[in-house]
Symmetry: C2
Amino acid sequence: MGDPAGIGPEITAKATASQDIRGLAVFVVIGDKAVMQRAFSENAPRGGVRCVHAGIDEADGLALEEGRVYVLDPGGGDLAGITPGRPSPEGARKALLCIERAASLLELHDKDHPMAMVTSPVDKKEISGVRAGFAGHTEFLQEYFHAEMTTMLLAGDTLKVATVTRHIPIREVPRQLTRELLEKTIAQVIDNRAMISGKDRPVIGVCALNPHAGEGGKIGTEEIDVITPVIGSLRGSYGYIKGPLPADVAFYQALKGEIDIVISMYHDQGLGPFKMMDFDNGVNMTLGLGHVRTSPDHGTAFDIAARRVASSRSMENAIRLAVNALTAGASGLK
Amino acid sequence: MGDPAGIGPEITAKATASQDIRGLAVFVVIGDKAVMQRAFSENAPRGGVRCVHAGIDEADGLALEEGRVYVLDPGGGDLAGITPGRPSPEGARKALLCIERAASLLELHDKDHPMAMVTSPVDKKEISGVRAGFAGHTEFLQEYFHAEMTTMLLAGDTLKVATVTRHIPIREVPRQLTRELLEKTIAQVIDNRAMISGKDRPVIGVCALNPHAGEGGKIGTEEIDVITPVIGSLRGSYGYIKGPLPADVAFYQALKGEIDIVISMYHDQGLGPFKMMDFDNGVNMTLGLGHVRTSPDHGTAFDIAARRVASSRSMENAIRLAVNALTAGASGLK
């Protein structure tokens, strides 16, 4: 559901009730019963949604009918006072309860009951007021599933981009960009390449850190010290990798189809080009959790909440990518 | 001409001889006579090019016929041994002589004889072997014209982008990003806004340095300490300026037409999105020289030199922008 005062309930209802999406899986929306009932009746009046309160037997797994959408309310929280567009501690608390419930359900995943998690946007600041240190879905789930490290992957109609460092100041980037981190990030992308790109041997383009790829050490040395050695060491096991490429070359080649997946060294290097092209359809995927987790690549959009104008395109793509990932098999999830 | 072994001679010949461009100005190609004659005969056999050796009287200015293309050879250098595609000290030396000659001609600029300089790509490394410390056209001209500071502006069909810091390592960016530098950069863009955007009141979007514009200080403090105060101080004199914007929002809005000129804090933040969209047509312009100087935004392309496949589109756009800048008047050049 995400934050109940954002566009999460609306895009969840629109996406899961749409004809294109409904047949892909059994959907269980973890959310507030009243909020989600309203969202479904406003945005998908004939969606055939059944509200399940809490009657799922976790020991036996889920016994659900194909092609239906269920709402599971984890209980707790009182959202009577919630106003669309206004973040609140009550809304944040409920959103957090939903994430926790979804994560616990995900542990029931096995090969007979494949499960994926698709998250809706939350207000990090509001949740961190309720749960100190909450830094986002990705960090929460990384800790929950005891994952050593994860990679943020952005998948859009035009570009597929992974970032090595994430939400840190630019001044911290050179320090955090170690051989170890870079190697593990590229390895996670290589492991998941088929799911990300739909190809067995996609071309992976690794960006440089510095302008013009450092011009042989004249504009920074990280290409020589960190990036080139890591690419060299990985090329033995996967040949379709190139770099370090100047970022302004890598994205141009990606747009022309010469590179399938771009690995950027830091947030804006990857997200600038990515969001320019795929703002409305982009999907965020976390690699390395041991479970499939995707999310639309946009925020709560409080300014347009409950106006029934939000696009569910990114949410629909997040669902499609999650289903594809399950189909590609658990082998690609580590 | 640029480096004689690169695509400079070819794109210069193609562009100046093309019907669309020829009528815009009188063109004087500063280059090697033999190299340029070959380039014109191969790429524009009916271009009507007259080769002028060195007979221009700098005291009286240039007496040239409208609608013709001249070649002015500054003399010096022996290019008999030059092979297309192979950079050499001889080629670099001649390219440098041409730049110096062009800069000295530019000093003849006055309101009756408006002049602009359009540079062709050179090999910086090769020239710096001939002239220690040569860092590129921009830096050379900045010193030549005693300009206190200049701004690199990239103009393409899709995006217009200025960068605050340029060819420096990422680790140096936060240190070099001072209030003074930012203020002067934005001021130069404001001064030249009509020429850049074709509008009186273009919307100027200023990027943040850090991801998510620093999230209120949680991801870096430069937005609070440097960028926001500068924007605030400039808004009084020019109201159509906004920021600091997360880079992944700024370029998305620019692509949608909501921002006319983006100011990026560092090279890849701006050039990644810019080159992705405008690689083939982009133009580089130097603001603050006191003279108009543009150049195609690509390199020497030694790999395709003299194969007659190079696109002159970016060179043609560089010429168009230079002519527009002269038309907009010298007021916009400081």
